[in-house]
Symmetry: C2
Subunit: 343 residues, 2 copies
């Protein structure tokens, strides 16, 4: 218990500067791309198709978009997502919107880029369930209509895993929701937030939410390397909450690092569009935003907020819902004679 | 067996006029709407959202679009579609593209309109699995963002089953794929088809395919009322085919009419975009288009086609893939605090 408390203090201390109330930042209109995968129109065009193509799953029914629905809040409003054969995952799908601004991906931070993230679900047996990436590439090779798009994006028709995840990541970097009421307020339009939302914004900083939820995406991008995580240790702070929401049933980041100090550590998620992405936390145990605010203040900050504070912070969080760009539906090229499930 | 043969002859005779080779028709650019549900922009806008909204299913994961994917050929390239909890349906999902031109809906024709069809899947326990339409309406009522769209489409914010299915049907009536190579050929562009496709078009008529697959959507719309069905009776024609593809395991329309004469009768499906919608037939037992052509000629027409005929007809059928209209993705309004599965 002592170790956990120390880490908690360390996390909060390390983040104070970034979370100062004077540091409110609007969301950029575009996300930066890595040097080895510059965003291009041809890659985005291809990536949007692949992202929406259920044929990347063994059953032919589960696409990236199935659990990370870009027509909605970028996830599926479920505690656990549903993969092939009706299997239910153990963690709540994070939103794909603004995921380009995450320093790490997955709740346990096991991927350090969108490209690395995209490699996971295709062969996860309870998600898209392909036996191997070779199988996924074999399916794509059987769809002649993909070849010109791979050529346009990467210079050759050859299809491989690296190109697939680069195209998907390039598309995901376009999934940005700027111009929320909060952003307009920060840029100078003082009428963009209600009085309650402005109160909530100040309360959010005062009680300490912004210690971790800092930066333009409210996900602590400037936290020291490897510290963009928070620890769920409710048994210490409030045994009732732990009994109710079972947060500590999942050991989180420790499964990746094999380090006991990382037990129950989870990535600081973005708060952008948080009003659209119930249920909350890694296990989706909390159904409403006001309860999520109350629980978080208690567990992470040791504070019991009153109803007014909770209402104000919740109203502020609702002002983080941005503008979703209009998107054409992709046209998925035909599968001549090839049918699913894939065998 | 005698009764079946008589019905078969009756079907073929009744359809001869409509299927004459001189009667090639291009697909209209728009589908007619019924007097009680005129197509309007506001209804289509709402219907597109509802069609893509997985929250109409009990699990929150299955939308109309899940099995009838408009980004692809309007279905799911599976023998049986996958509903909630991974359940697999018994018949292959028909395409939604050009379904506005079907005189009846479902393989067994149990719905006489798109509106009537849309009532089925929401409460089908192995499809979207809502216990009742009341539950579906309750979910929609918990999504405040839907109310303005219902008001714009129907004059009041009230949400009910009739409005939901009318909006979905109005959207489906916009899902038309004109300007296929075949259409351009029929309209006078003689270069739109290859020589092989023109040969296939003539063979298609000569061997008798067009007896049932007549009209602009090749689905026999002008067949006498109640006769837009074909009978699967392979045991009579070819016991090997029956053993291989199990077509007669499903009694088809007889389940609706409780009439033995309708045993193994199924709706004549459209052939529009057929190259994109493998696998084929009501049970999806045939994976490739050329095999579907061969099987159909044998079972329905008693003819054994040679490879050239099969190749030519298949090439012609590939010329029935039309232009898919560009569509914006719908924005699904948020679910504040409401999560799935629905209970």
């Amino acid at each position: 218990m002592k170790i956990r408390s120390m880490i908690s203090v360390l996390l909060l201390t390390g983040a104070t500067a970034a979370g100062a109330a004077s540091d409110w930042q609007a969301l950029p209109d575009a996300a930066p791309s890595p040097a080895n995968n510059p965003t291009t129109g041809a890659k985005v065009f291809l990536g949007k198709m692949l992202y929406h193509d259920p044929r990347l799953s063994a059953s032919g029914t589960v696409a990236c978009a199935s659990c990370h629905n870009v027509m909605a809040g970028g996830e599926d409003n479920r505690a656990g997502s549903v993969g092939i054969r009706g299997q239910v995952g153990g963690r709540s799908a994070p939103t794909v919107w603004n995921s380009a601004f995450n320093s790490v991906q997955f709740w346990d931070g096991r991927a350090d880029s969108l490209e690395a993230q995209a490699k996971g679900p295709v062969t996860n047996p309870i998600e898209m369930g392909m036996k191997s990436w070779d199988d996924a590439i074999r399916v794509l090779n059987q769809i002649p209509g993909y070849k010109p798009s791979f050529k346009a994006a990467f210079g050759s028709e050859e299809i491989n895993q690296e190109k697939v995840v680069q195209a998907i990541a390039a598309y995901e970097r376009t999934l940005i929701t700027p111009n929320s009421p909060y952003d307009r307020y920060v840029k100078g339009d003082k009428s963009a937030l209600t009085d309650q939302q402005v109160r909530g914004m100040n309360t959010f900083a005062e009680v300490g939410c912004s210690h971790c939820h800092s930066g333009p995406a409210f996900n602590g991008p400037s936290l020291p390397q490897g510290q963009g995580f928070y620890m769920m240790f409710p048994a210490q702070q409030d045994a009732d909450i732990d009994a109710k929401y079972k947060f500590t049933a999942d050991t989180g980041r420790a499964q990746v690092t094999k380090n006991d100090a990382d037990k129950h550590m989870f990535k600081v998620p973005t708060l952008r569009n948080i009003a659209l992405t119930a249920p909350y936390f890694h296990n989706g145990a909390v159904k409403t935003l006001d309860e999520a605010v109350r629980v978080m203040a208690k567990l992470q900050l040791g504070k019991t907020l009153d109803d007014k504070q909770v209402g104000d912070i919740t109203a502020f969080l609702e002002a983080l819902s941005g503008e979703f760009p209009r998107q054409d539906m992709p046209r998925l090229p035909g599968t001549p004679g090839h049918t699913f499930p894939f065998e």
